[in-house]
């Protein structure tokens, strides 16, 4: 498994762990109602589980497993792959901090733009790799 994929898969597992920790606390809070403000982390739980875990793992595995280019090009420009990881994860963190009111609400919009930037980089890196070599 290539390094950008390993980074993405490990990050996705970290998000799974953090998102699930929030989930278990929310469910315990639902059962025993010990701290009502805890519900404020619900959007972050959703963000971590959906974008941090499911989307990031899918992108990381796709980067590893889709057909490579012939010759030395391999999986394309690795700098773009690292940029994709950086932009996507900055987006997740900015959206989450904004949902927790640590950042102003405009942060949510900016974070979504960063996430979209990560996905656009993913599309750019993979568009030509979605091919068949059987004719």
């Amino acid at each position: 498994m290539t390094l950008p994929s390993r980074i993405m898969v490990k990050l996705s597992l970290a998000y799974l762990l953090m998102g699930a920790s929030m989930g278990v606390m929310l469910l315990l809070n639902k059962a025993f109602n010990f701290y009502a403000p805890l519900w404020a982390v619900l959007p972050v739980h959703i963000e971590f589980m959906l974008i941090g875990w499911v989307v990031q793992l899918t992108l990381g595995v796709a980067y590893w497993i889709l057909p490579r280019y012939f010759g030395k090009q391999g999986r394309g420009n690795p700098i773009l792959a690292y940029a994709m990881i950086g932009v996507l994860n900055t987006g997740i963190i900015v959206v989450s901090l904004s949902q927790l009111d640590v950042l102003p609400s405009a942060g949510s919009w900016m974070g979504r733009c960063l996430e979209m930037g990560g996905v656009i980089l993913f599309v750019f890196l993979h568009w030509k790799r979605i091919v068949t070599y059987n004719k």
């Binding site: 390094l3 390993r6 597992l13 278990v24 469910l27 059962a31 959906l50 875990w53 595995v61």
Partner: protein
């Protein structure tokens, strides 16, 4: 495809169908059930998507031991049972808690939360060491042969 992967995928498919049934029930006013929205989303995202991801990754990630002895796959089996028992307990206890609010349902819901969390810990324990490059895999194999 190993047995544990087939089980994850088939159980995931069952949750997929049931979650979509809940989605239909959600649209019918006469059939309203308590706590339907979180149940729909968790059966879809945990029961289906997460379970399929876990099943396929156990099969396709590097470093799988092809001998399917329980000992070789114990973390995967623990994940399977804890995740599914936890999710089923949630499906039963969450609507019942909204209807009756009895302590028994509160405790069942709490147990379901802990079981699902432990399942995910167990999955991470299994899959984390398998996230490795080709070089690392070869090195690990050589070290194993030597020992």
């Amino acid at each position: 495809m190993p047995l544990i992967t087939r089980l994850f995928l088939k159980t995931g498919l069952i949750f997929f169908v049931v979650s979509l049934l809940l989605g239909i029930i959600q649209q019918i006013d006469a059939l309203t059930v308590a706590a339907l929205v979180p149940l729909f989303w968790h059966m879809l995202m945990v029961g289906w998507i997460t379970q399929v991801i876990i099943g396929v990754s156990l099969w396709m990630f590097p470093g799988r031991i092809k001998d399917e002895k329980f000992h070789n796959q114990r973390w995967a089996w623990i994940t399977y049972f804890l995740l599914n028992i936890g999710l089923i307990l949630r499906v039963v206890s969450e609507p019942m808690l909204e209807v009756s609010g009895a302590w028994g349902w509160k405790i069942t819901l709490a147990i379901s939360a802990v079981l699902q969390f432990m399942a995910l810990l167990s999955y991470i324990r299994e899959i984390w060491p398998r996230i490795m490059s080709k070089k690392q895999r070869i090195k690990k194999k050589r070290a194993k042969r030597k020992s």
